[in-house]
């Protein structure tokens, strides 16, 4: 891949990336969340067409028009979310689309033979080819997908964070398989956050940062610290306001909290007037932690105490207790984007917007107008559809909703994801002012829990930071005891 660039709207996701992988080589592709790894791999596997640059496969120009074409050219991609047909048998999944057949009749004998061969290659020979895919474990399903690539005679295999949901025993088996595939001459691109996996498995590595290749090398000649330095090396600009905040009483206390799978263990205290940051990698269990606190996910053990209450609670009770959440995915969970600003903004707190239990549109608009001016949100009217606004303004509505409901504790999950720098700065100022409170209008300081994958932002605006790694939350430490290197090391589980 040479000079690959890809633009999405106003954002340049890839700014000229080069990537080479030789036959039989295991290349590790590393980088922070949002560095462009996934976009690059989507270009390789035909899901996105590059705006600039060229791809070559075995020295010949390669322009995959779609994922199907890429697969047929020998480039197979195994995503984190597996793509199997759950109702079909293992063998049918392996040979889907290339079933051995004569005159349209499936040759079941031949199918079983071919599938068994591929399953043996990937170490699935303990599974009957007739087993439906949904009856297999996650690890087995993953192997099944690799078997599919093997059956297709793929020459390049891309694995995107393959170990994120595997046990250590399964990881061991997967590594063995990846090595044996590379010995057969298959090129492997291995995407991972976990540097110990990178150093154990890969021959070479390539680092992406902010859509650019910032370094590559032979894994055995490079230390993990050097790779981390390449991943994070950038300046923190003065985007981040930090006024004089005074933290006071504890408003939220979480003790040994564990969910059904994640988080495994989390404890912290959140005080009024402070911003507590939670760092960690995608999939470490941060969102699950917020969901468990807010009553969206069941709690397996541990306690969440707000004021003096520590029993079970659903979202409705949490709202009443003065807790509000801005979820990570604005479009699908956070906002009803087809509805108006006023509808979205007033949704959690419709009381008082009309006589009795009625809701009057005019009162909704008036209530929204206050926040539109105060924050401010750039829009035409409170009746405008949320769809029509920029990402930054949508995010402000999500936060304004919490203010309308007059919460004391704000849980913010990736509040600046996918918005431009100018809007980010406004959101930071807003968060800062909320934590400070306002004596003039008598607004008390609020308590803010901020989950983010963007380290400069955590270091820039938080008072204390805790790190989540594989479901376990570290102790919260004051922000000046952290830097990007220590945060990243803690996130990938190397302290």
């Amino acid at each position: 891949m040479r000079g690959i660039a890809k633009r999405f709207g106003a954002t340049l996701a890839l700014k000229g990336v080069d990537l080479k992988v030789a036959p039989g080589e295991i290349l590790a592709l590393v980088g922070e969340n949002g560095a462009g790894k996934s976009t690059l791999m989507k270009v390789l596997s035909g899901a996105h067409a590059p705006d600039e640059g060229e791809l070559f496969l075995d020295g010949e120009a390669y322009e995959p028009g779609n994922p199907l074409h890429a697969r047929q050219s020998g480039v197979a991609m195994i995503y984190q979310e597996l793509s199997l047909a759950p109702h079909l048998s293992a063998m049918e999944n392996i040979l889907l689309g290339i079933e051995p057949a004569q005159f349209g009749l499936v040759d079941w004998k031949e199918m079983k033979r071919l599938a068994s061969e591929a399953m043996k290659t990937v170490g699935l020979d303990g599974v009957r080819p007739e087993t439906p895919a949904r009856a297999l474990s996650i690890a087995q399903q993953q192997l099944l997908e690799i078997a599919r690539a093997v059956a297709l005679d793929s020459r390049v295999l891309v694995l995107d964070e393959p170990t994120s949901s595997l046990t250590s025993k399964d990881i061991e088996a997967l590594f063995k398989l990846v090595r044996s595939l590379s010995e057969r001459g298959i090129s492997i691109v291995y995407i991972s956050h976990f540097l110990e996996e990178v150093s154990e498995l890969s021959h070479r590595f390539s680092v992406l940062r902010d859509g650019e290749s910032v370094g590559e090398g032979i894994t055995s000649e490079t230390t993990e610290e050097e790779i981390i330095a390449l991943m994070v090396g950038r300046d923190v600009d003065d985007l981040y306001p930090r006024s004089n905040r005074a933290s006071s009483d504890v408003v939220l206390e979480v003790e040994n909290l564990a969910g059904l799978s994640k988080p495994k263990s989390a404890s912290f205290q959140l005080r009024r007037g402070e911003i507590l940051g939670i760092a960690g990698l995608v999939g470490a269990g941060r969102t699950e932690l917020l969901d468990a606190i807010f009553g969206l996910e069941p709690i397996a053990s541990g306690e969440v105490t707000i004021e003096s209450y520590s029993g079970v609670a659903g979202p409705k009770l949490r709202w009443e207790q003065g807790l509000g959440m801005v979820s990570e995915d604005r479009k699908t969970q956070g906002l009803a984007v087809g509805l108006s600003i006023a509808d979205n903004l007033t949704l959690p707190q419709l009381d008082g917007l009309g006589p009795g239990r009625l809701v009057l549109p005019s009162r909704q608009d008036a209530a929204s107008q206050t926040w539109i001016e105060q924050i401010p949100i750039k829009c035409e009217s409170p009746r405008q559809q949320v769809n029509a606004l920029s990402g930054g303004n949508q995010q402000k509505i999500a936060i304004a909703r919490l203010l309308h409901a007059d919460v004391d504790i704000l849980l913010l999950d990736e509040p600046t994801r996918g918005i431009d720098v100018g809007s980010k700065a406004q959101i930071y100022r807003l968060i800062d002012s909320l934590a400070r409170g306002d004596d003039e209008s008598g607004t008390p300081p609020k308590a803010i829990l901020l989950v983010s994958s963007y380290l400069p932002e955590l270091l820039g605006i938080c008072d204390r930071i805790a790190v989540m790694s594989r479901g376990i939350l570290s102790d919260a430490r004051p922000v000046d005891e952290w830097d990007e290197h220590t945060l990243m090391s803690a996130a990938i589980g190397q302290e």
Partner: protein, 348 residues
Amino acid sequence: MSPPPIRSFFQSSVALNIGARFLALIIVFAFFAIFVEDGKFYTLRNLENIVRQSSVYATAALGMTFVIITAGIDLSVGSIIALAVVVVAWTLNIQIDGANGELVYLVHQYPFATPILACALAIGASTLVGLLNGALIVRLRIVPFIVTLGSMGIIRGLAKGIANERDIYPPEETWIGGLMDPTLTNKAKSGMIFPAGVWILILCIAVASFILKYTRLGRHVYAIGSNEETARLCGVPVGRTKLIVYALTGFFCALAGFMQFSYIGGVGQPTTGVMYELFVIAAVIIGGASFSGGEGSILGTIVGALIITILYMGGQQMGWPKWVQEMVIGGIIILAVAVDRLRHRKLA
């Protein structure tokens, strides 16, 4: 390494599924056999009636099984049946200039070829509207529910238009009208065991089961319903498969239409088959298919069609008022799916 143990057919989940449905069929049948007076329910004649009536639903439900396995739906089947009925009657009613210049019926002039022509036209028309359903779903990417909700009205209107909003009475009895004639009370036909239409259904069951199980087309139908994106990624011709599936539904509805034509006495009635889409969909769902796709079987569908028919006819013979019958059938549909969901949850 020793080969993995081969579980017998009766231990497999498919067999268990079908077995549970047969059990439900037997329970429903036993209920009416016990409670309908004087053992009238299990007389041979009544059994034959059940088979005759269920054949219409079952034949149309064959196509619907394919559609629902792909996670689609076809609401237009009742209308397509009516279209086939009307086209048959209309063709039998064609008049041409005779040798002496006067008008004669085509069927009188060519008593052998005209019924065949009638069937060919009905099959052609039904398959074509099915194909159009599929084309709208695939090309315009409109969801099947909406497309077939619309075509349900369009096709019904078409049938009424062809029939001039009246019942068409063909001038001559033909073998089409005799497809569903009872064989028990008719000495001349008693050698056939079942009416001819039922034999057609049995043949279709065999063919449809074979397609689903042993052809690439059939396996692609399951793959699309199970995970359409994956199927596309793996090079399954998703659009073409869906086109074929909806066209196939049209084809089976034409056959169901011939049976219906005979069952209602050889009349081209454009208002026939109203609400049949509900019975047909219910048969498929009770037969174990899932609206979210990937699951379903022909044998299950047939059992489902029998259950629906037995409930319907048993209710009549118990003297239940029509409103009770309707409520019972509605309730059974929800119950069947609810039991299925519970079972699924246990498996998961």
